[in-house]
C-alpha cells in the first residue's frame, strides 16, 4: 500500500480531491433545495418543509428516497439514446466546472506532496469554465427534443435560444477583468484582489458585475428567466417527460450550476478566498471570526434545540449545536486557523450569493419571451460592450508610457 501510494501519489491525491469535492458539492446541492424552500416560504409567510426531521432538515433525504423508488415510465416514440444521454450530460457538465475553481490560497500538504487548493490548476481556468458552460445547453435542448412531445420541444427550443443569447453578455462582462489582470487564471484573478474590500473587482467592474449576474441567472434558467420550464405555459418544460431519478438529475444539475455560478461571482468580483478585511496588523483579530461564528452559532442552536417541540428535535438539534461549537473551537487552534480562512470566506461569499439567488426567485415575476430576447440583445449586450470599451480605454490610458 505504501509503495503504491509513493508511486502514484499524484493520481491518489487527484482522486481524493475529486471524491471530497463531489461529495461536498452533492450534499450542498441537496441542502440548497431545503434552503431555497425555507427562504421562499418565509418570504411568503409560510413555514416551508417542517415535518421530516427538526425544521424539515431531513427533507432532502426523503426527497432523494422518493426519487429513487418512484416508477420510471419511458414515453413512447422517444429517441432512446438521446433521451437517456440528456440527463447524464446535464448533470456531469454542471458538476465538472467546480474542478477549476480555486478553493483556498497557496498550496497544502497531502501525503507528503504539495498540491494546490483546488481540484485542477490550469492557467486558462476561466476559459475552461466558459467552455463547459457553452456545452451545458445540450442537456436541456436534447432532453426537449428526444422526448417526442410538444411541451418539452418548446422548452428545449426556448432554452437553446436563451442560453445562446445570454452567453454572449456573460462572456463579454468578464473580459473587463481579464483586461485588468492580464490573465485567464482564476487563481491569479483572485490574487489580484488581495487586501480587503477596496481591492475587489466589483468596484471598478460594477457594470460588468451587473451584466454577469443577470446573464448568469439566465444561463442557469432561474427566475425571472425560467421560461424553459414555465409551468403555467409548458407543463414542466424540457423535463416534462422525465420521471424518477432522471428528473432528479436535471434538478441536481440546475442547483449545481447555481452553486458554480455563485463560486464564479465570488471569485471574479468579491475577492474569492480572501477575507474582506485588509491584511494589516490592526485587523489581525478578524482571523478568529470563523471560530467565533461557529461557537456563537453552536451555542444558539444548542439553546434553541433544548426547547424544540418534538423529542427528536430535542436530541438532534443540541447535538448539532455541540458539534458546531466544537468545530468553532477547533477553528481557533493555532495550526488550523490559517487553513480555515480561505475556505471559510469563500463559503460565506458563496452562501450570500446563493441567498440573493433565492431572494430574486421569491421576488420577481417571470419575463415574457419577447421581453427576454429584447432585454438580452438590446440592453445587456450593449451594456457589457460599453463596459468593455470603457475598461480598455482606462487600461490603455493608465498604462505606463514606453
Amino acid at each position: 500500500m505504501g509503495d503504491f501510494l509513493a508511486a502514484n501519489a499524484l493520481l491518489v491525491i487527484a482522486i481524493v480531491k475529486v471524491v471530497v469535492v463531489v461529495f461536498v458539492l452533492l450534499t450542498a446541492v441537496a441542502y440548497i433545495t431545503w434552503f431555497e424552500r425555507k427562504v421562499v416560504a418565509h418570504m411568503q409567510g409560510r413555514w416551508g418543509p417542517e415535518r421530516v426531521g427538526p425544521h424539515g432538515l431531513l427533507q432532502p433525504l426523503a426527497d432523494g428516497a422518493k426519487f429513487l423508488f418512484k416508477e420510471d415510465p419511458t414515453p413512447a416514440g422517444i429517441d432512446r439514446f438521446v433521451y437517456f444521454l440528456a440527463p447524464f450530460l446535464a448533470l456531469s457538465l454542471a458538476l465538472s466546472t467546480i474542478a477549476v475553481i480555486p478553493l483556498g490560497p497557496g498550496q497544502i500538504e497531502l501525503f507528503g506532496h504539495r498540491t494546490w487548493f483546488s481540484v485542477a490548476e490550469l492557467n486558462i481556468s476561466l476559459l475552461v469554465v466558459f467552455a463547459i458552460t457553452a456545452l451545458s445547453v445540450y442537456g436541456v435542448a436534447l432532453a426537449g427534443w428526444a422526448s417526442n412531445s410538444k411541451y418539452p420541444l418548446l422548452g428545449g427550443l426556448r432554452s437553446s435560444a436563451q442560453m445562446l443569447s445570454y452567453e454572449l453578455s456573460l462572456t463579454m462582462s468578464v473580459v473587463g477583468i481579464v483586461l485588468l489582470t492580464n490573465t485567464f487564471s482564476l487563481r491569479d484573478i483572485v490574487e489580484a484582489q488581495r487586501g480587503g474590500v477596496g481591492r475587489w473587482f466589483v468596484i471598478p467592474q460594477i457594470l460588468g458585475f451587473v451584466c454577469f449576474f443577470i446573464s448568469a441567472l439566465a444561463e442557469t434558467n432561474r427566475v425571472p428567466f425560467d421560461l424553459p420550464e414555465a409551468e403555467t405555459e409548458l407543463v414542466a418544460g424540457f423535463h416534462t417527460e422525465y420521471a424518477s431519478f432522471k428528473f432528479a438529475m436535471f434538478f441536481m444539475a440546475e442547483y449545481a450550476a447555481m452553486v458554480t455560478v455563485s463560486f464564479m461571482v465570488a471569485v471574479l468580483f468579491f475577492g474569492g478566498y480572501f477575507s474582506p478585511f485588509p491584511g494589516t496588523p490592526a485587523w489581525h483579530w478578524t482571523i478568529y471570526l470563523p471560530a467565533a461564528g461557529g461557537v456563537i452559532g453552536g451555542v444558539l442552536l444548542l439553546l434553541h434545540g433544548l426547547r424544540y417541540h418534538t423529542p427528536l428535535g430535542r436530541i438532534v438539534l443540541p447535538v448539532a449545536g455541540l458539534a458546531l461549537t466544537g468545530v468553532g473551537v477547533l477553528c481557533a487552534l493555532a495550526g488550523v486557523v490559517e487553513y480555515i480562512q480561505g475556505p471559510f470566506w469563500l463559503a460565506a461569499k458563496v452562501a450570500t450569493v446563493l441567498f440573493v439567488y433565492v431572494w430574486v426567485r421569491g421576488t420577481l415575476p417571470r419575463f415574457r419571451y419577447d421581453q427576454l430576447m429584447n432585454f438580452g440583445w438590446k440592453f445587456l449586450l450593449p451594456l457589457s460592450l460599453a463596459n468593455l470599451v470603457i475598461t480598455s480605454l482606462i487600461v490603455a490610458l493608465m498604462r505606463p508610457a514606453q
Binding site: D79, F81, V82, L122, N123, I124, L127, V128, F130, A131, T133, A134, L135, V137, Y138, A141, L142, G144, W145, L153, G156, L157, S160, A161, M163, L164, E167, N182, F184
Partner: protein, 166 residues
C-alpha cells in the same frame, strides 16, 4: 506506452468514430451529435499538444456556439430522418477514385514529413494566449483584420437576406 500516447489513440479513435458515424447516421440530430464528438475529441488532441488556448476556443466556438445553432435549427425545422437513395453515378465514378487518391496523397505526405514542422514564424511559441495575441496584432495583423471584415460582411449579408420581403 506512456499515458499521453494512450490518450492520443483514445481521442483519435473518438474523432474517427464520430466522423464515420456522422455520415452513417440517417437522422440529422444524431449526425450533429457525432460532429460534436469530433470537435471535442479534436480539442482533447490540442490539449495533448499543449495548445490549451486553442482547445478552449475550439470547444467554446465550435462545440458550444456553432453546433448549438445547428442543433437549434434542426429542432426548429423538426427535420426527420433522411431517406436512403441509390448512390449517384457521379459519386461512383468521380467520388470514389478521388477519395482513394486523397487518402494515398495524405498518407504519403504524412510518412514523408519530419516531426514537427511549423508553418510560419513563431507558430511554435503561439501556445500561451499572450504570445498568440502578440502575433495576431503584429506579424499577422493584415490577415487577422481581413478575416474580421469577411465575418462582418457575412453578418451583414445574413441580415439583408433575413430582412428581405419574399
Amino acid at each position: 506506452m506512456s499515458a499521453e500516447t494512450i490518450l492520443f489513440f483514445v481521442l483519435a479513435a473518438a474523432a474517427l468514430g464520430g466522423a464515420v458515424n456522422l455520415i452513417a447516421q440517417t437522422h440529422p440530430i444524431h449526425s450533429a451529435l457525432s460532429l460534436i464528438v469530433v470537435m471535442v475529441a479534436l480539442a482533447g488532441i490540442y490539449l495533448l499538444l499543449g495548445a490549451e488556448l486553442l482547445a478552449a476556443v475550439q470547444i467554446i466556438v465550435y462545440a458550444g456556439a456553432i453546433m448549438v445553432l445547428f442543433v437549434f435549427t434542426i429542432m426548429l425545422l423538426n427535420a426527420g430522418a433522411e431517406e436512403r437513395t441509390a448512390i449517384s453515378r457521379a459519386a461512383t465514378w468521380l467520388g470514389l477514385p478521388f477519395a482513394v487518391i486523397l487518402t494515398v496523397v495524405l498518407g504519403w505526405s504524412i510518412s514523408l514529413s519530419q516531426a514537427p514542422t511549423y508553418a510560419g514564424p513563431g507558430v511554435a511559441m503561439a501556445r500561451a494566449s499572450g504570445q498568440l495575441s502578440q502575433l495576431l496584432f503584429t506579424s499577422y495583423m493584415f490577415p487577422f483584420e481581413l478575416t474580421s471584415i469577411l465575418i462582418l460582411v457575412a453578418i451583414l449579408g445574413a441580415v439583408v437576406l433575413a430582412k428581405r420581403d419574399f
